[in-house]
Amino acid sequence: MRFQPVIGLEVHVQLKTASKIFCGCSTAFGSEPNSQTCPVCLGLPGALPVLNKQVVEFAIQAGLATNCSITPRSVFARKNYFYPDLPKGYQISQFEDPICQHGWLDIQVEGQESKRIGITRIHMEEDAGKLVHGDVSGLEEGSGVDLNRACTPLLEVVSEPDLRSSDEAVSYLKQLHQIVTWLGICDGNMEEGSFRCDANVSVMPVGSETLGTRAEIKNVNSFKFVKQAIEYEIRRQIELIEDGATVVQETRLFDPTSGTTRSMRSKEEAHDYRYFPDPDLVPLVIDDAWVQRTRDELPELPEQRMQRFMTEWDLSAYDAEVLTASRSLAEYFEACVALHVNAKAVSNWMMGEITRALNDSGTSIDCCPVTPRLLVELLKLIEGGTISGKIAKTVFEAMWQSGKEPATIVQEQGLVQVSDSGAIEAIIDEILTREAGQVAEFRSGKDKLFGFFVGQVMKASKGKANPAVVNELLLSKLKG
């Protein structure tokens, strides 16, 4: 029997607000335990939550960017359960009326047609704190509770079970990641847990209409792990069924070191979260004007921008996709082309030298020492014939190091291209005299030697000779 995997993803997106969702404490990562707390996020008696408006703005942006409809009147609900990292004994979340509903994303897996993945809902909620085990002296006998992260704003993005393979899941996840970082509502840092994923995985016989029993896999915090975890889980479930066993509905934890999932047996008790509307918070009413305002202020999204780069600047699909991998990259490109230079040249440089230099130094495009203006200056020197493309790479290196104007570097290092035919002729003559043997061979039909002569001339000119002039003069002298 052949099996069809069915996958749905629940993604927790930590929002990039300055303060927490229901109180004014900072959301900064990595501070001393419990230093970023107050009565509200500690769940002290008498404390009350007040909603951070920026969280709502971000949620609407995320909803619009994923083709959701925005719920005109949404409410917060309490999800009741006991856990030491949950200070109030309930998590403030949304249940019956989430802020965004019925969205979708079109994903593209290599070699397949584009596919639409439904987004059931996006809701706002508060994060829990952190539990620390063992690695602090005094915690050998117990667990430590740090509530700095408690009450940090999250969006939970729930997909429909439309995904059919680990590749589709990763593609969906990457696209969602790109959107939330593009919007600037999430820093996207998966290691620090700013973008976390739980996967619901089941399998059913091909052709069946009935979904199999699903397992929820938690703690898959990189694209690679998502792929591994889902593939492992699919294999595990198929093997179970083929062995005549049944899949149990349960929560499983992914173990990145072994690449496997294991049952979380400690949660033996069935959950009954007793959701009900939180009486401490009032309904959230979002009218059409608010939605429209947000829509108007929404930046052009990666997909749209990629299409525009292809039509407006005549870039290949591949180039356009690379240049829209992040909003900063796309904006760098547009800043360059706005200064009236050849878009193709900008694209080539960004995908070549700039990407390489960024990777080598571990810098992000936002901190690129060669600003769009400087890059454009460099390209102008090439186009104007002041320097050759080869020399430009040398100049670029110097710009990267010093941040100086390319013209200054060319001046200081005497890198101006020599196009003066007299000077070049002199060099050529010298070479041809020196290499008389090779000249004879060339003239007797060994055409391939032409490259050798060009190389010699360029070497003698320290790379500064204008290659076009060199070619022309060499050819006429050799033939003549």
Partner: protein
């Protein structure tokens, strides 16, 4: 309305309460009486009636996204029954 001791035990587990056998049967009886009384709500037809969460109409209470000072570790932990360094300490949590 009948509430069994098993019902009481299930609810107590959810509420993280530990009840003695006496309390269980006492609460079973009292809850049955109260829930029996509450049954009278079924007399009312509430089709098409919207539920009320807040009696006074209210919506959209926000704060701006500005950081305000936290209370500090010592105040946060001042009432802690048990602590280690600047953590609250609880019995070992096994995942």
């Amino acid at each position: 309305m009948n509430i069994s001791v098993a019902d009481v035990e299930k609810v107590a587990r959810l509420a993280r309460l530990e009840l003695s056998e006496e309390e269980k049967s006492l609460y079973a009886g009292q809850m049955a009486a109260i829930l029996g009384y509450v049954e009278k709500l079924k007399e009312l037809n509430t089709d098409g009636i919207l539920p009320t969460s807040h009696a006074v109409p209210m919506e959209n209470a926000f704060r701006e996204d500005a950081v305000s000072p936290s209370i500090g570790i010592e105040k946060a932990l001042a009432n802690a029954p048990d602590r280690v360094e600047s953590f609250y300490r609880v019995p070992k949590v096994i995942e």
